[in-house]
Each structure stands twice: as C-alpha cells, then as structure tokens.
C-alpha cells in the first residue's frame, strides 16, 4: 500500500535535473491505506477463503493481514523496504495469521505473483501502467485486480466504487481475439459457425459468418474466462454462455428462445489457427 505523495516530490526530485527530458523513476512513498480503504479493496475483489491475495507494495502488511484475518484468505506481500517487510511479519504474528501470510522483499516490477487470484495495488500511476503488460500476460484469466486511487490509464475498470476514495476492479480477461470454429447443438439441430472476435481488454465484439450472411454477436461480454453473447438466427435468439479454456477452446451452454423453459443446448468453439484454414 503505497502512494504517490505530491507534485512537490516530482519538482523537488534532483533526478529531473540529472536526466533532462526523461521522466524520473520516483520511488512510491509509503503512505498506508486507511482501514476503510483496506476493507473496500478486499470487499470489491470479493475476497474469500479460496483466494491468494498478493499486495504489490505491501508496506506494514495490513492488506494481506486483513485478507487472512477477515476473509480467511492467504496473502503474500511484496515490499521493497526490508524494514517494512519485518514490520509486516511482526504484525502478522501479532494478528495470529502468520501461518497464512508471507512477505517477500523485492521490486514489484520483477516479483513473481503468478499464483495470485487477487492482486491489490496502491501505487503511482506510472508504476501501475508499467505493471500492466505483465499482469495481463502472467495472471490467470479471472484474476481480480483492485487498484486504489490510480487505475490503468487505458484499461476501463469492470467496476468502480467511490467510498471516500476511488477503487477500481479489473478482471484479467482471457485472450479470445481471432477466428473460431463454433459448433452448437441448437433446437433445430447441429450448427457450425465461422465465428470471429475482436478484443480490447474485456471489450469484445464480433459475429458469426453463415451461408449468405453475417450474424452479429449482441450483448457480447467477457469477464475473466467467462464469455457470453447472443446470436439471432431465424427469428430466435440464442444466448451463449461459457468459459474460455486456455488459448484454444471455449465451451458452454446455449439457451434458445424466451421464457421460463428455453431449449438448452451446448456449444464448443475451437480456435482456427492462422494458416491452417486458409487453404
């Protein structure tokens, strides 16, 4: 839980004079989150006993300790200042959660946090954006990222909450862009679609090519590894819901028609690899 302090820091930094033209790497000053901020971050992430919460810049350990004490989760704090690491460890013992939390001294930019299911951040905007490529590439789809005050500059949060401060929640999206062969069991029989998706973070759009036409995917949504979209064909809407399974497949159920008992079928899509289908 660190925070940029103020413009004063930038202006006062002698680093500016030393490297003219370049934005200096200013270490994030340590400013602990309030108890309410800790509560809101963990609540917004929907933290539970199955979670591993990784706090990048863990300070005195309050986020991971609260995650263990209040939510039964496990926690890992990454902190560059060895004194704060020791303080976190002492605080964890005192809170009786030393068996469920750990602290590692290190730089958040190189730390290994791939096992996380929840990542919490309270860092300078610069650093938040610097972390983004690795967070997107290395975290499992569906991992929740909660940022306090400063979110990613070009990635829209899945949810934001304002309670004294602003908190942003992001689900790490599965990679779904590209061409898929979509096979669906619909009430009228087996159907095969050439399905295409464009993606920008969790925002997706696309559609299915069918003989003589194109069915746009309506209400297309991606939250972590969960995907949903609607195809309207022959006057019936087919609501697809499912999970992305790795890079090459996704599957789920499809409900056709309205009302309390729509016909339920199943679907599976496999990725069409570049070149393999182009004849």
């Amino acid at each position: 839980m660190r925070l940029l302090a103020a413009v004063a820091l930038f202006l006062a930094g002698s680093a500016i004079a030393a490297t003219p033209g370049a934005l200096p790497d200013i270490p994030t000053p340590y400013l602990p989150s309030t108890q309410v901020a800790v509560d809101e971050m963990l609540r917004l992430a929907g933290t539970g006993p199955d979670d591993l919460v990784v706090d990048l810049g863990s300070g005195d350990g309050r986020v991971v300790i609260a995650a263990a004490r209040d939510y039964g989760a496990r926690g890992l704090g990454i902190e560059i200042d060895p004194k704060l690491v020791a303080e976190g460890e002492a605080n964890a013992r005192q809170a009786g959660v030393a068996d469920r939390v750990a602290f590692r001294q290190g730089d958040v930019l190189v730390a290994d946090y791939r096992a996380a299911t929840v990542v919490t951040l309270y860092l300078l905007p610069n650093l938040v954006d610097k972390l983004k490529p690795r967070l997107l590439a290395e975290l499992k789809p569906g991992t929740r990222i909660v940022a306090h005050d400063y979110g990613f500059s070009d990635w829209k949060p899945d949810r934001s909450v304002v309670i004294s401060k602003t908190y942003h929640l992001y689900f790490v999206p599965a990679a779904v862009a590209g061409r898929w062969r979509l096979h669906a069991t619909l009430p009228e029989g087996e159907r095969e679609f050439d399905f295409e998706l464009d993606q920008r973070y969790q925002e997706i759009r696309g559609g299915a090519r069918v003989a003589g036409g194109y069915l746009p995917a309506f209400e297309a949504r991606l939250a972590g590894d969960r995907i949903a979209f609607v195809l309207v064909d022959n006057g019936t809407s087919h609501r697809f819901e499912g999970r992305v399974q790795g890079a090459l497949a996704m599957e789920g159920t499809v409900r056709s028609g309205p009302g309390r008992s729509p016909a339920t079928g199943s679907w599976r899509a496999t990725r069409v690899l570049r070149g393999s289908d182009e004849g």
Binding site: Q35, D70, V162, T236, R260
Partner: protein, 278 residues
C-alpha cells in the same frame, strides 16, 4: 406495439370501413408489429414471471401479452384503439391457448387502467413517451416499464440491452426525497443519522449527519423502493468502518438492514428511518 406516424394508415382504415368513421377515434399511431425476437427480449429484460401482470399499451395483434402468458406464465391486458386489432388479438390468444389469462380492450392507451400492472410494455414515438411519463412515474414503486427504440428523454433507463434493437428498462422509483431521521443501534453508542435525500427519477444524492457530524454519503442508489448507500463511520477513530445501508422506502418510512464493516468482522443490525420533512 404501436408506432406514431401519421394519417396514411388511419385514412386507409377509415376508407375501408366508412360505417364506423363517425364513431371511431383515429389512431394517432400506425400499427407496426414488434419483431418476435424483440418481444422476447423485452419480456426477458423485464424479468417477467408467473407473478406478473403485463399491460401492453397499443397491443396490436396481441403478441406481447400472448408471449408473456404462453412463455413466461404471466397474466396480461392489451389495450388498443383499433377494434379490428383487438378482435385479432383475442383470436390469437384463443389459438395460443392463453385466452383465460389475457384480455384485450378497445381503448385509448392514455385512458387505460394501470392499476394491477407490474410490467408495462410500450412502443411509442418520443412525443407520446413523454406524454405518458408523468402517469408512469405515479405507479407503484418497482413497476417495470420496457420499451424499444424510444426512451423517456432525461429519465435514464435502469438497463439497456441491444439484441438487434435497443431495449430499455425503467423501474418506477419510490418518492424518497426529503429529510429522514434514524436511530442506529450500533455498539458501543447509539448513533443518530440525519439524512437529506435529493432525487431526480431514480438518481439520488444525499448528505448525512452522524451524531451531528457531517458525513458524506457514497454509492447512493434507488431501484424501485430499494434504497442503498454507504456512510463512513468515524465515531471511533481507531475503528473506522463503512456502514452499508440497505432498505425499502415505504411512504414515510425506510426499513432495512445496516452492515458495519466487512468480512468476518462485520455486524448487521436493523434500521428504520422516518421522514421528518419533504
């Protein structure tokens, strides 16, 4: 299920039935049937179920009310100014086997009895949507209104979906504006909550005093009669926590639960507020 355009349709209808020309009110809107996919989506977005009574304003051939009964188990009433369409809707209901659960009336939709409706469906041009708006806002809080293509101007929809067409859902908000007061049984000391609510349709903003101390109100939301908001309780500086209020507005009373804190350490108590001024 009607669509305002102008004289053409009315003239055609009158020419074909000169006998009725004297008694019949001209439709303000020509009949344009809503596609079945949109009918399905409207009823889905409204969350129609067996407990619902669906009122369709401008019911045309009856497809919305009939679909609501046949596929969603609801009951319904359709009103339409065109007696021929009313007859056709009745026949369609018989064919669909739902004649016992739906009714159709030849009526100006502005004269319709909204009394028992829990869901109202419309398809009107903006001018008529705005004309209808004040009447709808008087309905029982929680009543759902669905429309497609056209909206209610500055009354923002609670939800919007797009499956071929834009479908909008509004939930009639309870009148919640005014000053409210509640005693909160929160250990270690009772707190007095003074709440001042401002309202524009379902959008609410609020200010609070907790034991006389001004406190900001966060995440205030009103969905039908359901009011929720958050106040940060700073009574004990060493134990600050968010108070999550959730309650139902019923006339001059709000009743519900307030949760203090989060996770394993949270505590839940009942709260009740009375309106002290409008």
């Amino acid at each position: 299920m009607k669509f305002v355009q102008l004289a053409l349709v009315s003239l055609g209808v009158l020419a074909a039935h000169p006998v009725f020309a004297q008694e019949e009110r001209k439709p303000d809107v020509p009949y344009v049937a809503t596609p079945q996919v949109t009918v399905d989506e409207m009823l889905r977005v409204a969350g129609v179920g067996p407990q619902d009574f669906v009122l369709d304003l401008g019911s045309g051939d009856g497809r919305i009310v009939i679909t609501a009964a046949k596929k969603f188990g609801a009951r319904g009433l359709g009103v339409d100014i065109d007696w021929r369409l009313v007859g056709q809707a009745e026949e369609n209901a018989r064919l669909a086997g739902v004649a016992d659960r739906v009714r159709f009336l030849e009526q100006d939709l502005f004269q319709a009895d909204f009394g028992q409706a829990t869901v109202i469906t419309t398809y009107l041009l903006p001018f008529y949507m705005l004309k209808l708006r004040p009447k709808l806002l008087q309905l029982k809080p929680g009543t759902r209104i669905v429309s497609h293509d056209f909206d209610f101007g500055d009354w923002r929809p609670d939800r919007k979906t797009n499956v071929r067409k834009n479908v909008f859902l509004w939930i009639v908000p309870a009148p919640a504006a005014g000053r409210w007061r509640a005693r909160l049984e929160l250990p270690p000391i009772e707190r007095l909550l003074d709440l001042e609510l401002k309202q524009r349709y379902q959008e609410v903003t609020a200010h609070a005093r907790l034991n006389g101390v001004p406190s900001q109100v966060w995440e205030a939301a009103l969905v039908g009669d359901r009011l929720s908001f958050v106040v940060v309780d700073t009574t004990d500086r060493d134990d600050e926590a968010s108070l999550y209020f959730d309650g139902r507005v019923n006339g001059d009373v709000i009743e519900g639960e307030v949760t203090r804190g989060v996770g394993a350490t949270r505590s839940v108590t009942r709260w009740r507020a009375a309106r002290v001024a409008r």
